[in-house]
């Protein structure tokens, strides 16, 4: 029974590889089809290898414009949500104030509420205020739903922080500002970074809330949705693949840096 023994020994690896392929298969399909030259308007059947789409990523009308709007919104939403969320997280952990408990639970509401409901209520709010729908309404909406994720990530980090570290800093001649910059912030940084990354991803691919509050502005997810009705340009796959590659590069870079640090320490 050498096969059974072999299977037993490698079961975990096999299960891992299967899971990984399940997760990565869609990305592989997207990548493969970015090199397709489709017949007709829909890019659903493999025809022939081509680099056309990669040579002209902006060859489709309005697509790169929508991509740029999406990126701008994602960046500003990340900045806004991270700043506000970090401050809220510190306030919730460090200070005792009235309605702290209420704030603590209400901050989770956007995470729990169905997006459609939130989108519709936001639209009602904006219309009643007479706001012009567009870039700014999208940005406000995105900051709002990203906030809860940042608060959750940063709060966990701040709560697990030893308060003696800040006392030690004050004891070692660091004033309040220095203590915050040199000790508190660097230690909370991983939580803040996690919140920021989540915000960026959530904002970039949000469709429902954006669709309700966009007015005539078109973000990248809305563009993809819209074009899917009429035909799917290969360039969408190119953008998708490029984003995937950027993400993979980020992960590899952080792993490399981590490894090098570990080797230095050892």
């Amino acid at each position: 029974m050498p096969f059974v023994t072999w299977l037993k020994r490698h079961l975990v690896v096999i299960a891992g590889l299967l899971t990984l392929s399940y997760l990565l298969l869609p990305n592989v399909i997207v990548t493969v089809f970015s090199f397709n030259r489709p017949k007709g308007r829909f890019n659903y059947e493999w025809q022939q290898f081509s680099l056309d789409a990669w040579r002209q990523p902006c060859g489709v009308a309005d697509m790169c414009g929508s991509l740029s709007i999406s990126l701008q919104i994602a960046v500003w939403a990340t900045v806004g949500a991270t700043l506000l969320g970090t401050m809220i997280a510190f306030a919730l952990v460090r200070y005792r104030f009235r309605a702290r408990g209420a704030v603590n639970s209400l901050i989770f509401l956007p995470m729990a509420m169905p997006e459609v409901v939130m989108a519709a209520s936001l639209l009602t709010l904006f219309l009643n205020m007479g706001a012009q729908l567009g870039f700014w309404t999208i940005l406000i909406a995105h900051i709002m739903f990203c906030l809860s994720f940042v608060v959750t990530a940063v709060k966990a980090r701040v709560m697990s922080m030893d308060p003696r570290l800040e006392e030690a800093a004050r004891d070692l001649y660091a004033g309040p500002a220095q203590t915050f910059l040199r000790v508190t912030l660097p230690i909370a940084a991983p939580g803040i970074a996690a919140g920021a990354l989540l915000s960026f991803a959530l904002s970039f691919d949000d469709f429902i809330i954006t669709n309700f509050n966009a007015g005539s502005t078109v973000t990248f997810p809305m563009f993809v949705w819209g074009s899917a009705q009429r035909g799917t340009p290969v360039q969408i796959n190119v953008i998708g693949t490029a984003m995937f590659l950027v993400a993979v590069l980020f992960v590899l870079a952080s792993m490399l840096i981590g490894n090098r640090r570990n080797r230095q320490k050892a």
């Binding site: 004891d171 001649y173 230690i187």
Partner: protein
């Protein structure tokens, strides 16, 4: 660093701290002279750490003042006090390496060239090789030394140590006690050390203040506290004491004669901290190692003039250098006796009738109006 001025004196005047209705520290006066190694000893929750934190500036006193030398620092924030702390659990900055941890205080004070000083300091605590490691890569003992280096490099007037050895195992703790003592002698800075370990306090400090329930019970040199405890708490918390309830019978010269059970005990008047009038009650104390144990059959060989009690051995445990006996006696159900294992008497086994005897000079007297078991339970809790 050794100076003859008094700039390293710590003077606490009427300093107290209350949290709502709970009094953590009752107003107390304390002077720690420049260059001394001072220990605040007490069980957890006795206010010793709060007192330390008030010196550091991490806690604002409800009343009273803190002086360093001639400077009133009561209302100065911690980062403006020439005092540094070694925290319990060390509180090393996890995101900085050892070098930067040690350099932290210098950099905050705007000192540019820190390299030489930091390297020298790391040499002093024998961690030169570890400079570029992160705190979590070091062992407990090494982290502890980094914490000491990080504080000492600033040449504080006073170094505060908040149970710095609590997280270490016994062997390492002994080693670090000697190490800290060595460093203190070398740099000559005033050390204020908070601990619940009476042995640690006695080994390291010149002066020990025993704290209980927010008050200083007694202050003195380790030997003085051990030999002449002033309260039952000190008697029980510092080592072990046998305390026997007795009545003052008469006085003869410089001695008090006491009645306990059926027998008489002699106590030098100078060693009795209680007001002793004939008929009054006192607690008679004697340390277990001061007592000799003789089998009842040899009672006649005991020299005259020694205090005697009769009893029966309830338990004996052999622990190498000595044997610890528990003796039941009519005046007290559990008397502890430690006998050095020089010549062991084979008859001293549980059940044997014995006579306990000791020199009157080793007897101390305490006020009977206090809890006879104060300080006992806390010790057992710490041991658990």
């Amino acid at each position: 660093m050794t100076t003859t001025d008094n700039s390293g004196d710590v003077r606490l005047s009427g300093i107290g701290k209350t949290y709502g209705s709970f009094t953590a520290v009752h107003p107390l006066d304390l002077t720690v002279p420049q260059g001394s190694f001072f220990a605040l000893l007490g069980a957890s929750g006795c206010g010793k750490t709060t007192t330390l934190r008030m010196i550091a500036g991490l806690e604002e006193p409800t009343q009273g003042t803190v002086h360093l030398g001639d400077q009133d620092v009561t209302h100065l924030p911690p980062y403006k006090r020439p005092v540094n702390t070694v925290f319990q659990s060390y509180a090393l900055f996890p995101h900085l390496d050892i070098f930067e941890n040690v350099a932290f205080g210098l950099r905050r004070r705007g000192i540019k060239s820190v390299k030489k000083q930091v390297e020298e300091m790391l040499e002093l605590v024998q961690l030169g090789e570890q400079a570029r490691k992160k705190p979590h890569q070091l062992s407990g003992g090494q982290q502890q030394r980094v914490a000491v280096a990080r504080a000492l490099i600033n040449h504080p007037k006073v170094l505060l140590l908040d149970e710095p050895l609590g997280a270490l195992d016994l062997k390492l703790r002994r080693q670090m006690q000697l190490e800290l003592k060595r460093i203190q002698t070398e740099v000559g800075i005033t050390f204020v050390h908070v601990t619940h370990d009476q042995e640690e306090a006695m080994t390291m400090a010149d002066t020990v203040a025993v704290m209980n329930a927010g008050r200083v019970e007694q202050l003195g040199s380790p030997a003085d506290l051990y030999e002449n405890p002033g309260t039952t708490f000190v008697a029980n918390f510092l080592g072990t004491s046998n305390l026997i309830e007795a009545e003052v019978d008469s006085t003869s010269g410089d001695d008090l004669v006491l009645k306990a059970g059926g027998g008489k005990l002699v106590l030098p008047r100078a060693r009795c901290s209680a007001p002793a009038t004939a008929g009054g009650k006192v607690l008679v104390g004697v340390r277990p190692e001061k007592i000799s144990l003789t089998h009842a059959d040899d009672a006649g060989e005991i020299p005259e003039g020694r205090n005697r009690l009769t009893g029966k051995i309830a338990d004996a445990s052999f622990i190498g250098v000595s044997t610890q006996y528990v003796v039941e006696s009519p005046v007290c159900d559990e008397l502890a006796v430690y006998v050095q294992n020089v010549e062991r008497d084979g008859r001293l086994v549980p059940g044997a009738d014995v006579v306990l005897h000791w020199s009157p000079a080793h007897t101390f007297g305490l006020d009977a109006a206090q809890d006879i078991d104060a300080g006992v339970e806390t010790l057992e809790e710490e041991a658990a």
